[in-house]
Assembly symmetry: C2
Homo-oligomer: 541 residues x 2
């Protein structure tokens, strides 16, 4: 059965029924025009201003001749203009390409070229990185600078944010944008390979925003949430899990203007009566220390999420104490499956603190036998696989990666773990981070968890290095905390490990380093650790 729409104008039907991420802001602005949508440093932007700017910006890019369906790169630090650009592109049918500003220009140029971006929006402060990227990207025809009266970038047409808005026509931004068209392309920070462009459709992001709003409803009551965003918007978590669901609900997104500073973060929590926040474990640790130095009233916080990795029990307890009214929960996800994919429920804080939590309402989560492709029952370790609307369209321009990602009708996360009897997901490791040693599979994550509490260890990453007898040998790469003489640390770490781990899990060697290579969100780049450790092991061996 299909309706007979022969007398209906196709654009009319599309506009009345469509799923478009940008429309989420249009609706919020209709309901809450004078509410503050974004606090950007000292600047407060209402829903009316955010939505009307978004529409003018989208219209302006179409006026510029940017082709619908092509990518518009954003080289920006967190700001209300970055959010306005996102929603405007969404309603204009353009694909948002947020760039990771900490990448080197060479890699950024590769990404912009791979994505075939035709326009780029950038902050003046990032010009040193911007110039070589634009110069090396012949497909980029237009550069929009968020500052006024910008100098030209490379040899390309360069226009200021305010000028392009002023020049935009007043025509309503009502164009056809299929709901299965991509709205965003995020290059994965990739711990094991080069970045891949993850395309996600309007319908995926829309359903993910609704799903996230339900999942984090704990403690929302009927008041609009006030969400602190300190993670970068160029990553999927801050963009799709923190900022955008709140803007759908009529809440307020608060973005401190400077680089991460625990004192400023806690000041913002107190002054803005933050209700929700999400930080990496190391950020929570810094805030806990700051709160001990100078206590603020943090009673407004009702949901404190820690992202990406479990936290040590003592830090969990500190965070629990400093936010007396908050649920403290772990949220997990990945760029390819608009997060959160799984998220702890508040009751897991004290029963399954190291778990990832159960699936969100729109993501079916299972484990799969990596050889046979059979979906597994509970308490069986396999690759974590997902199904559901949150799963993205796939990788741009990468059929091989797509064939691996969607084998057997599920999205392959690359993570290893199991589900318990209550369908709570427990993460074990990345598939590529399993160390195969003497016929045993060693989870590097399990070894890391044990070594983190060893005296003298500040941070550590565990990898496999080639070994004649064992195939691979477990190697711990350690950042010392200075409390133990480096000359003794290797022996002490191995002795400590023997008290905590099975024999096959105990590191055969310990390498000391000053710091570990990390992504912008603080994830340790295991493939870089592994590569360096192998070089070091060979030269030592």
């Amino acid at each position: 059965m299909q309706p007979d729409l022969s007398l209906v104008d196709p654009l009319d039907h599309h506009l009345a029924t469509r799923v478009n991420v940008g429309d989420m802001l249009t609706r919020s602005a209709a309901l809450f025009p004078d509410r503050v949508a974004v606090v950007d440093g000292d600047t407060e932007i209402t829903y009316r201003e955010l939505a009307s700017t978004a529409d003018r910006f989208g219209r302006a890019l179409l006026d510029e001749g940017v082709e619908p369906g092509t990518a518009v790169a954003l080289l920006m630090t967190n700001s209300w203009k970055m959010l306005a650009a996102y929603y405007g592109c969404a309603r204009a049918g353009l694909v948002v390409l947020p760039l990771n500003i900490v990448l080197l220009p060479e890699l950024l140029t590769w990404i912009v070229g791979d994505a075939e971006a035709t326009a780029i929006v950038a902050d003046e402060a990032l010009r040193p990185k911007l110039e070589p990227v634009v110069a090396g990207s012949p497909a980029v025809r237009t550069v929009v600078m968020t500052s006024d009266a910008p100098e030209p970038v490379a040899d390309r047409r360069t226009v200021s944010w305010n000028d392009i808005l002023a020049a935009a026509s007043d025509a309503p931004l009502e164009v056809e944008v299929p709901e299965r068209a991509p709205v965003q392309c995020l290059y994965t920070s990739g711990t094991t390979s080069n970045p891949k462009g993850v395309l996600t459709s309007h319908v995926s992001v829309t359903i993910a925003l609704l799903s996230n709003a339900i999942v984090t409803r704990q403690g929302w009551g009927s008041d609009a949430p006030v969400m602190l965003v300190v993670l970068p918007l160029f990553h999927v978590t801050a963009l799709n899990t923190l900022a955008m669901p709140v803007l759908m609900m009529g809440g307020t997104v608060v973005m401190p203007s400077l680089a991460f500073d625990p004192a400023k973060v806690l000041d913002a929590v107190e002054q803005r009566s933050i209700t929700h926040l999400m930080m990496l474990p190391m950020m929570h640790a810094a805030c806990a220390a700051e709160q001990q130095r100078s206590a603020r009233n943090l009673e407004s916080v009702r949901c404190a999420i820690y992202a990406m990795a479990p936290m040590p029990e003592d830090l969990l307890n500190k965070v629990d104490t400093m936010y007396p009214n908050a649920s403290v929960i772990l949220g997990s996800g990945q760029t390819e499956v608009v997060p959160a994919t799984v998220m702890q429920w508040p009751e897991h804080r004290h029963t399954a603190a190291a778990s990832w939590g159960p699936q969100v309402p729109t993501v079916l989560t299972k484990t799969m036998d990596p050889v046979s492709g059979a979906v597994q029952g509970p308490n069986t370790t396999g690759e974590i696989v997902y199904r559901g609307p949150n799963v993205g369209l796939g990788y741009w321009n990468n059929p091989t990666a797509n064939a691996e990602a969607f084998a057997h009708g599920w999205f392959h996360s690359g993570d290893v773990g199991h589900l318990d009897d209550e369908s709570v997901v427990w993460f074990t490791d990345r598939t590529k981070d399993i160390i195969k040693s003497g016929g045993e599979n060693v989870s590097s994550v399990a070894v890391e968890a044990a070594l983190l509490s060893a005296p003298g260890v500040a941070e550590c990453s565990v990898v496999g290095v080639p070994h004649d007898r064992w195939g691979e040998a477990v190697c711990a790469v350690v950042v010392p905390d200075g409390s133990v003489d480096p000359a003794d640390l290797e022996d002490q770490v191995i002795a400590y490990a023997k008290t905590r781990l099975a024999g096959f899990q105990v590191p055969k060697s310990v390498q000391l380093v000053e710091e570990l290579p990390k992504t912008a969100t603080g994830k340790i780049q295991k493939f870089e650790v592994r590569a360096a450790a192998r070089v070091a092991a060979e030269s030592a061996g």
Copy 2:
């Protein structure tokens, strides 16, 4: 940008990423297999049983040769099997056609024929209605009876629910179902015309379920809701707003087994610790009276919704008092826009009790000048129009109705009203229910609201009847409550109206009737009232 999926099996990609309403139950069952999903009279059905039955049922219909994309009619009273049939059809790519069991067989036969249904699922108790419908529907090849060992229906293949499940193959129900394909076809009960088949897609219903879960989150906390469903599942409200969002959240749907009985309803609320319920105003009134006769503990209720029409202030107060912990709110919607479209917030209970409330997160609501098609600003009366994912695909087999419904890029509700300064929607009337009298537009709803408090009036409906001088004259059709002598009632009602209404709004005549014609959900069928009133006015004149 589109991903290159050349190496990916299309069905694999579809299964990993699709939006399918049936998958919502699959996911709930994975999380909460042993929780009670449905309480059907004295029968408790777990999520595992509901989901596995749904899948077997969908598989069984495909095994029977029912063509994907065709309609499967349900002639059923509320039951867990009706819900299992819905989800099974959804996952099998069949279109669910729930039939209004109070319609006459002639009209049911017309609907089944119009929808070209190829199978029908029915309760034995409805056989007297079923036999003529099947006999008159040559396209129906298979009849499934929910009872065991059924006699054949008409001359068609007839099989029992249990037998068809037992015969189903064990193959997983993993078939391609486009997200824009219709999942349900509901014929509107239509107050002004014959029924039209409203087709709604998987993506619309999915987004509506998520949206409803957010809207009714008030008071949910983190516990799963326990929803009382006394409205019939063959209507959109009980199906898509009450039952299915709860089954997405791991809650429990409680359906008393018998016809509406206020004592049994309140017993169920107390015994099952109901948290959410929705009833028509007359049902709330009956329950309030029953609670006064015999008080139950109703403290578990956190959200009490009244549907379709405002309630008198004294009834609102009674409902407020009887559910001491509940938000009492009005929910509105229509079959064509998977409800709720607008819904009161708890704070409106005391500030805007007669309003419909603000839009839900996924429905943009405006008013439109019916002549120019221009979208209007606040405080201007026009036709209420909607945009958003909740808007259905359109009417089956009815291009003329579709052309009217989607004109100017908005869905036309047929309702008249305005938005106030806070975007709260205030309903005035149906477009066709405006009485044009002496050059003035009279809102029949406004007159009805005034007359409902007149002494001697139990119910009333106000329509226009032809009049030589005024074009149309306002006529009040009244059901007396017995407290006033019928001989005096017309004069008393008119005298009362003069104290409450402007002159042009005061009825010129009052007709007394024993009852008003209503739809199964209790909506007064204004077109029937109008037709009868015109006949009576002519014979009186």
